[in-house]
């Protein structure tokens, strides 16, 4: 198999980070172009496997899949290099914007736009929920966990972390008790 240098790996992921707008779902065609079509370093099926796994793992999907590819090509160091590559340009963009943004907070146009953008953020949240909702197979177990955790979150001051710990434990106990016989 062809080998890619760490510098080249970093540069490719820097470029991907710089042109990536959106998130996990946008990165897939870009990666396919760079690693499957242009360089034939990764097989199409491998890429799809990594994509599925990246969605399964916690964390940021685009970062996860970049690290899978980095690891596949150059081992542990490759994963780290890929990670730093993909966040390189975004990091400095945000640092720059954050430092100039404060200058505009008293501007009429900016404030009016921000009023609308608040609503856009709520819309994006609702659409994310819809997307997650549509992508899951929903059974009684799903609804039970969803409703109890939603009610608990609304009426108590539980942190997301606490909620995840509590309801995952409850769910796992249920799963364990109702498991098929052959699993020990």
């Amino acid at each position: 198999m062809k080998k890619i240098s760490l510098v080249k790996l970093f540069l490719i992921f820097t470029k991907i980070g710089a042109i990536l707008l959106g998130g996990g779902y946008v990165i897939l065609p870009i990666l396919k172009n760079e690693f499957v079509e242009k360089r034939a370093l990764i097989g199409d099926n491998d890429l799809l496997d990594y994509f599925a796994l990246s969605q399964t793992l916690p964390g940021i999907i685009a970062a996860n899949i970049s690290m899978f590819i980095g690891y596949k090509l150059r081992g542990k160091l490759g994963a780290i290099i890929a990670m730093f590559g993909v966040i390189f340009v975004p990091f400095f963009t945000i640092v720059f914007l954050a430092s100039v943004f404060n200058m505009f907070t008293n501007n009429f146009y900016i404030n009016s736009a921000l009023w609308g953008i608040n609503i856009a953020v709520i819309t994006l949240l609702i659409l994310t929920i819809r997307e997650m909702w549509q992508k899951t197979d929903k059974n009684i177990f799903f609804y039970l966990i969803f409703i109890t955790s939603l009610l608990t979150l609304i009426f108590t001051k539980l942190s997301p972390f606490q909620a995840i710990l509590i309801f995952t434990s409850v769910g796992l106990i249920y799963k364990f008790l109702s498991r098929p016989k052959e699993i020990k």
Binding site: I87, T123, I154, A163
Partner: protein
Amino acid sequence: MIYLQLALEFLKIGFFSFGGGYATIPFLYHISQHYNWYTLEELSQMIAVASITPGPVGINVATYAGIKTAGILGALLATVSEILPSLILVLIVSKLLKKFKDNFWIKSIIECLKPISCALLASVAIGLIKPELKDINGMILLGILLALSWKSKKDPLFYILLAGIFGIIFHLFS
């Protein structure tokens, strides 16, 4: 001290947020209410800026939250802390690819995390809508944006630009 807290909070996000960039919002929302690092309004701005600049949204918003909290060192710390758990998991999973997919416990944990993540996001959406309910214009805009995405979700950029322009036009005429 603030650096330690910051790192810890973002490690938690990296380990327990599930479903991509916007799934980190419930954690960031909780931070805004629990610590004095940034306000809810600032969080909204951060999400907007993170959505329309290059790079993964979840990472951008972590960088922004970090810089708001503790300057450039905070930005670096928050970003790296958020990715670190994924890095460790990717290294482990890459080695046992096959076993991972079929493991009973891992499958069960994922099955639990899906509804909880939906509930976390829903509770934050409710928390954010509540103060806006009295603002009729805001509700009209929300209705328009949701109606536009009835068939399919558009690029985040689309919603943020459209809503921003709507906001400017609306405030110019009132």
